[in-house]
């Protein structure tokens, strides 16, 4: 079964290079802030006329100031003030923002809209401008600057809190708690706040680094910490004033600022999962050398298969970068005009196999096969331009979610036309005409008008039919449809399947239909391939379903109720019931399935 979540994810992340940098850096800041006044205090305050305004030297790495005080020592001592002011201002921003945002969440609707509109307006003003405004009111002092910077950050956190809380409050688990009678405040404390915390921490840390710089800016302008106190910003300002004499007097405090800012950001990234994208990705394995015996021939004779696959294996890197094989050597042949269905559950490898056949898997996948060809084109080798054109015209795809598989920024017409414009060099007029015909053939009325529309202006079923129409623009020889109706209602599903069927009749293209629904596949396809755990476990004719011999296929057929199911009997279940009693899932629901990769825990 799936691993128990034992170690804290934070501890795991602390072991990454970024984690180590962040943790060590934070520790260093704390240590310096605590001990600096003791260690460097006297050097920072001892004036010496003889040593005034010297440049950088071994004794004085950043030189001395106009009273002969050591700038390096002053930079170290200033750590405490700079960091404390930053933390203070960040705390004001976070606390003020969370309060305002949380209050906005529970306000009645009209007032809530007013408050959020106000927050949005405040957000449109840059931070520094707001801080300047507040520092006019509170005066040029360290406290005034802290308040100014802190209050300037309130709208950001108010907005964040409001957005997070609003989205969390809509989750089913919050609804469930309310149905059970848990009060509103308790829901906030038990369900909303704990789930809000990680993103808040990330933002607080990132904001702290911004605050640090904002502070430096104010002090530099003379609006923050006032003499004789000093922070990095004031030291920087003093340094800039005499940058021609001793650049290090300005660069020194600058380095302190940057280092500290980077450490704050790193701490934020520690909580931020997205960072793992840039680190720790394995060296991608290039597509293996396909041992193709197929000659590069022009359109093959009709009896030649459209797709020929032998021993196809697909592997993906896991989190640690080790390749994990997900498809374990499948072989299949699709003849011209044949309608082949692939049935399997999540994680069975059916979609991955289809994408591998179309050579559309991402660069991190490792695909090997002793043969993988589409109408004579070796799909494991780099494609020539001529082959690309043929593929573009002859191999069409339809995906599960028609909204995201059509480009939201381009009109339907442009998306339909481009294949033939690029690969056949058709004029716009000619391709438009063909696009109208294509839409009409997938039963979309008012084709000319539809071509000018964008995907979001069409209904779900119409979008999916437009996708099919897109496939009909060239000279399709194979249509790969990956769960084309899963996101649709049954009546719409029927319309889409019908259009698919008609397209097949008209063009004679073969269809590879991938679905989790064995009833649908059995009703639509000539031949059914059953996939499980990356292998094809059975291949049979659709009208010989009852002859299925593999226990998994038999289970798949039996476990779905149909209109004739006997209500007096429990449904047959794949896997032994004895195993269920130990909290085990039936054997088909593997821990490495696609389902588990999208669990809430890993998303958060």
């Amino acid at each position: 079964m799936s691993p128990r979540p034992t170690a804290s994810p934070l501890l795991d992340r602390l072991r990454t290079p970024r984690g180590v940098t962040g943790a060590v850096g934070a520790l260093a800041i704390i240590v310096v802030a605590v001990i600096a006044p003791t260690v460097w205090g006297s050097a920072a305050d001892t004036t010496s006329v003889a040593d005034r305004l010297t440049g950088a030297s071994l004794a004085h790495p950043f030189g001395t100031d106009e009273l002969g005080r050591d700038v390096f020592a002053r930079v170290m001592v200033a750590t405490r003030v700079s960091v404390l002011l930053t933390l203070g201002a960040t705390a004001i921003s976070v606390i003020g923002g969370v309060l305002l945002g949380a209050v906005a969440t529970v306000l009645p609707r009209p007032i809530r809209r007013l408050v959020t509109a106000l927050i949005d307006i405040l957000l449109s003003f840059p931070w520094l401008l707001m801080a300047l405004f507040f520092s006019v009111i509170w005066g040029a002092s360290a406290t005034g600057a802290m308040l100014a910077v802190g209050f300037a950050g309130v709208p950001t956190f108010a907005r964040l809190t409001y957005t997070l809380a609003s989205s969390l409050v809509g989750r089913d688990y919050v609804k469930a708690a309310r149905i059970a009678g848990v009060g509103q405040v308790e829901v906030l404390v038990k369900h909303v706040l704990p789930n809000m915390l990680p993103p808040m921490l990330v933002n607080a840390a990132v904001s702290a680094s911004g605050t640090l710089l904002a502070f430096a800016g104010l002090s530099f302008l003379g609006l923050g910490v006032q003499a004789p106190e000093y922070d990095w910003g004031r030291l920087l300002g003093l340094g800039i004033a005499r940058i021609y004499g001793n650049p290090m007097a300005a660069i020194g405090p600058g380095i302190a600022l940057v280092v500290c800012g980077v450490i704050f950001t790193q701490l934020g990234e520690l909580w931020n999962e997205s960072s793992k994208r840039l680190l720790g990705l394995p060296a991608p394995v290039r597509r293996g050398p396909g041992v193709s015996v197929q000659p590069l021939a022009e359109p093959t004779a009709p009896e030649e298969p459209v797709v020929q696959v032998r021993d196809l294996r697909v592997a993906f890197p896991d989190r640690n970068g080790d390749l994990v094989e997900r498809v374990h050597g499948i072989s299949l042949t699709i003849m011209p005009g044949e309608v082949v269905g692939v049935v399997g559950e999540s994680g069975s490898g059916k979609s991955v196999s289809a994408m591998a056949i179309a050579a559309l898997l991402g660069p991190d996948s490792a695909v090997t096969a002793s043969e993988l060809s589409f109408r004579g084109i070796d799909m494991t080798a780099p494609l020539t331009n001529a082959e690309r054109s043929r593929l573009g015209l002859e191999l069409a795809m339809v995906f599960q979610d028609p909204l995201t598989s059509l480009n939201p920024s381009l009109s339907i017409g442009k998306q339909l036309r481009e294949t033939v414009e690029v690969h056949e060099g058709l004029s716009k007029a000619a391709s438009t005409k063909r696009a109208e015909e294509a839409l009409e053939s997938v039963r979309i009325p008012l084709a000319a008008k539809r071509l000018r529309q964008y995907p979001h202006e069409l209904s779900g079923g119409m979008r999916q039919r437009a996708m099919i129409g897109m496939g009909l623009m060239g000279r399709p020889k194979l249509l790969i449809a990956d769960e084309p109706t899963t996101a649709l209602d049954v009546t719409v599903q029927r319309q889409v399947l019908r259009v698919l069927h008609e397209a097949q009749l008209r063009t004679g293209a073969a269809i590879l239909l991938i679905s989790h629904d064995i009833a649908l596949v059995s009703g639509f396809c000539d031949r059914i391939l059953v996939m499980k755990d990356g292998r094809i476990v059975e291949s049979l004719d659709a009208d010989r379903l009852h002859e299925a011999r593999h226990p998994y296929t038999q289970g798949l057929i039996a476990c779905v109720p149909d209109m004739t199911s006997d209500r007096t009997m429990p449904l047959p279940v794949i896997g032994a019931l004895g195993a269920l009693r130990q909290g085990q899932e039936p054997l088909v629901e593997g821990p490495d399935g696609e389902r588990l990769t999208t669990t809430e825990g890993q998303r958060a």
Partner: protein, 266 residues
């Protein structure tokens, strides 16, 4: 009148020009101890009916009663009566707090009983409920991420049972699950209904599943019930055109799809 009864239920979202009537004069009586199916496609309003029954949505008009007691509104009596109606959600991945051990989530469900539970009592109750849904009670301290989809759905059922409901509303509880797991959850629900004599409102878009699970059925379209009656009658001899279209659209195992000349809608 006993059982769960909706009369003239109307729910509107939004206001002004953007108002949208999700449920429109909805009528339904679920007799105690039976299971009633609610069938319809997306946008038909069936999930809104469920949300109104558990108080997540305030109806604009009409009433919902449980064994004669009004369960709509903010009065203490309505709230108390409403706790006896519990909802199992569609998506088991968003129905459990990712940062709360499953045992605590289930324990939270016992709130609805409005009795005082001592800690050991609560622990025993959670173990008993997990046992009931065939999950190892030892795992009560684990987070939802340690469980698969089917297991999570069983855990959310356990949470609903913790409220000691007399009515359980199952809103598309298997549509996010793999077919092989679907059977486990359906069997469990039937078993629980029989043993606990639950009244079940079973919401689904899948006619075959409703046929298997329910004694009677209502077909919804555009916020209204277009046809209702005993499952065997409605699904065997549908009178309404929409019901017939729905039935014709369901793929049947091993039967070639046929394409008559109906016009595809928009």
């Amino acid at each position: 009148m006993s059982g769960l009864e909706f009369s003239d239920l109307t729910v509107r979202y939004g206001h002004g020009a953007s108002a949208h009537t999700a449920v429109d004069g909805f009528q339904l009586t679920v007799r105690p101890g039976t299971s009633h199916g609610l069938v319809g496609e997306s946008g038909s309003g069936k999930s809104t009916v469920a949300a109104a029954a558990v108080g997540l949505v305030l109806p604009s008009a009409g009433s919902i009663t449980l064994d004669g007691a009004d369960i709509v509104g903010r009065s203490a009596a309505a709230r108390r009566a409403r706790r006896r109606v519990q909802l199992v959600f569609q998506d088991p991945y968003s129905a459990l707090d990712p940062r709360m051990p499953i045992g605590s989530s289930i324990a939270e469900g016992t709130r609805a009983t409005q009795r005082k539970w001592s800690r050991p009592e609560q622990r025993d109750r959670v173990a008993e409920l997990l046992e009931r849904v065939h999950i190892d009670p030892e795992r009560a301290g684990e987070l939802p991420s340690a469980f698969s989809g089917g297991q999570r759905q069983r855990i959310t059922i356990a949470r609903a049972l913790a409220a000691e409901p007399s009515v359980l509303i199952a809103d598309e509880i298997t549509s996010a699950l793999d077919v092989s797991v679907q059977g486990v959850v359906l069997n469990l629900l039937r078993e629980l209904q029989r043993e606990l004599e639950l009244t079940v409102l079973f919401i689904s878009h899948n006619l075959a599943v409703v046929n298997y699970m329910c004694d009677s059925v209502s077909v919804m379209q555009g916020g209204k019930v277009v046809e209702a009656g005993p499952t065997s009658t409605v699904l065997a001899a549908p009178e309404d055109a929409y019901t017939r279209e729905l039935l014709a659209s369901v793929p049947v195992m091993g039967r070639r799809m046929t394409w008559d000349d109906e016009q595809p809608g928009a």
